[in-house]
Symmetry: none
Subunit: 404 residues, 2 copies
Amino acid sequence: MNPTLEIFSQGEEIVTGQIADTNAAWLSQQAIQLGFTVTRHTAVGDKLDDLVGLLREIAGRADCCICTGGLGPTSDDLTAEAVALAFDLPLTFDEIAFAQIRQFFTNRNRAMPESNRKQAMLPKGAERLDNEWGTAPGFAVEYGRCRFAFIPGVPSEMQHLFLEKILPTLHQRFSLQPEQLVTIKTIGIGESAIQERLNAVVIPDRVQLGFRAGPEEVQTKLLFPADYPKPAMSTLVNQVAERLGNVVFAIDGLGETAGDLVSVIDKLMSGKHTLAVIETASHGMLSSLCIGRDWLLSASYEQNIARLGQQPSADNDHLINTTKALAVDLQKSSGADIILVQLYTGDSHTLHDKNRSIVVYTGLLNGERFEQASHSIGGSIKRKQNQAALLSLDLLRRYLQDKL
Amino acid sequence: MNPTLEIFSQGEEIVTGQIADTNAAWLSQQAIQLGFTVTRHTAVGDKLDDLVGLLREIAGRADCCICTGGLGPTSDDLTAEAVALAFDLPLTFDEIAFAQIRQFFTNRNRAMPESNRKQAMLPKGAERLDNEWGTAPGFAVEYGRCRFAFIPGVPSEMQHLFLEKILPTLHQRFSLQPEQLVTIKTIGIGESAIQERLNAVVIPDRVQLGFRAGPEEVQTKLLFPADYPKPAMSTLVNQVAERLGNVVFAIDGLGETAGDLVSVIDKLMSGKHTLAVIETASHGMLSSLCIGRDWLLSASYEQNIARLGQQPSADNDHLINTTKALAVDLQKSSGADIILVQLYTGDSHTLHDKNRSIVVYTGLLNGERFEQASHSIGGSIKRKQNQAALLSLDLLRRYLQDKL
C-alpha cells in the first residue's frame, strides 16, 4: 500500500474563492508521481482554532502532509503559531532564518520591516527549509505518524521549496514505489483529434491513458505500473508518438525532462542561432515567452498591419509575399540569422470577437531558405494571442528539428 | 454572526490534481456575496468511508454545505450512497428523476444506458433539485444543524443548479447579511511597507483589514459589516488610500469595479491618446499585457541595449538622456502622442541572477513634456520582467491621473 498524503492549504484568499487552489493540484500531481496516495485536500482561512484542530486531525490519519500558506509577516499569518499550539512546540527564534530574511531585503536594497522578524519564529525542534526564492523559510515537523512540511503559498516559492527541499527527504523517509508517467506533449492539435489518431494503438490494460488540454499544450499521458518493463514502455510510447506525428514537440518521462515549447527551442537555438521577430496577433506574447533567452535579439509588435505593407484584401499569395519581404528587410537590419514574421487576416474586430477566427501566417527565413505555416485560431482575444505566439514559435521548432 | 458554509468536493480528478478545484472557488465567492462565512473547503476521492465520515463531521459544525461531484452513473460515483449511510436515509427510486433522465437521452436521440438508472436513486426524503442542463438531478437534505445541497461537478451544470435552484432557497432558510468588501489596489509597494504606512490609521474593531500580494498588484482589503454606514465607510477608505499615496491605482467596492492596472489605463487612454513603446527588461510583457487595446500602436523589444545608444557604464544622467533621445525619435516615427521608453542598468547576467537587482528607468514623452521614473527590481527573471512591465505602465497611469 502506498503511504497516504494530504494537502492542507491555509489562506482567506482560498476559502473566500479569490483564487482557486492550484497549489493543491500541483502538489497532488507531484505526490502521486512519487508514489503517494493523495487522500484529501483541505483549505481553511485564518482562524487559529480551525488550524490547530485540523493539524491534530491530519496527524492522526495521514502519513504525510504538505501545508501551504500562512507563513507571511502579517498578523493573519498563523501557521507557525498553530503548529506550536497543536503539537506543543513553542515558537523559538531561529537566528539563521532571521539572517536569511534580512539578506533577502539587503539583496533588494530595501530595509527589512520589523514585521518580517515574525517569520524567523519557528516551532521548537522544527527542521528549517531554507527558502532562497522569497522571504520566509518553510519548516518540517513530525507528529504522530505524520510528517508535515510547511511552505509558503506563493506558487513559485512553493514549487521551488517542494522540489529542492522536501522531495529529496520524502525519498529517504518513505518506501515509495512510483508509477511511471510518460507525457507526450503536442501543440496545434486538439484532444479529440488526438484520441481519434490513437484509436489504432492498442493500450494494454495495465497502462492508463489520459489527456490534459491546457492553453500551452495538449498532453497525452501514459501511466505505467512501477514494475512495467522499460523496453515495452519505450515501444508503446514511440508507437503513440509516431501516430501523433510532427505535432509532438517533447516527450517527458523516458529520460530527461524537455520542459515547455520554449525550452525545447532553447536547446536547439542556444549558441547556434539568433532570432529576430515581427509579431502582430500575438501582441508581444511571443517575445514575452522568450524572456531570458539570449538568442532573441529583437522583437517588434505593430498594430497597424497596413504599415507593414499588408493590404486589407490580402489573399494567401499576397500574405506570403508580404511576410517574405518583411523577413528579408529584418534579416538585413537585425543581424539575426533566423527571422520570424507573423501576419494575420482580419482586423481588430475579428481579433476581439470570440465567435470569429483569424488565420495567422508565419514566415521563417534562414539564409535563402523560406518556410511558412498558417493556422486558423478562434476563441477569446487572449486565446488568439497565446496560440498565435505558440504556433509561430512551433514553426521555428519544426524547422530546427527538420519536421516541417 | 453570519451562518457558516463549507464546500465539499468529491472526485479523484481533484485529489489527484488533474484539475484545480475551480468549483470551490466559484461557489465560495457566491456564498460570501450572499452573506455566508465560508469556513472550509474539503476534497476527497471516491472512498465511501471517507465520504460518510466527512458528511457527519460537516453536519456537526457548519450551517450549510454545498457538495459537488460524485453524482454520475458509474460505480465510483458514491455521493448518494454516502448520504444514505451517513444520515440513515435509505436510497429510494425517484420516478420523476428517472423520467427526467430518460428525457435527457430522448432529447438527444440516444438510448439511455442502464447504468444511468442509478442516478434516480435519491436518499429518502431528499428534496430533488431538477437539472435541466445535464443527466443527473441534484438533491438537498438537512441533517443536524446543516443544510446540504448535492450537485454535479461539471462546472456549467453546477453553476446553473446553484444559481437557479439553490440560491433562492438559501435566502428563505437563512437570515443573510452580506458584508461589504472594499479593495484598495496598489503597485510598486510591498505588503509590509503598506502595513507600516497604515499603522497610523485607526481601523475600527468591526472592520477587518487584510492583504493580498500577487504578482500584478498588492491588495489592501477592508471588510465592513452589512450595517456599517456608507459615509463612515467612505471616510475610512479615503483615509487609507491617502496614507498609501500615489501607489494606489484603483479602489474596488465603493462604486464601479476598476479592474487591473491595464483596465484603469484603458479608461484614461481610450479615444484620447495613443502609445508607442520601446521595452527592454520587460521583454514583450508590456505589449502583451495590452492585448486588444487599440491605443497601443507599436512596441519593440531590443535585447542589446548598446544598439539603443546606452553605454555599459551608464550613469543616471546618461540613462535619462538616452531615454529622452529614443523617445523623441519614436515620437516622430510612430505617430503616437505618448511615448514610453524603458531602459535598465545591468546586463543579461544581472537579469538572470535572482540575487541581483536591476534598476529600470522609464521615460514618458507627451508633446514637450518629459517625465521619468526609476525602480529597483529584484527576484527571478520572470519577476523582473513582470514588474518592469507594470512599473513602466504605472508611470503612464500616474501621468494620466496627474499623480506623479
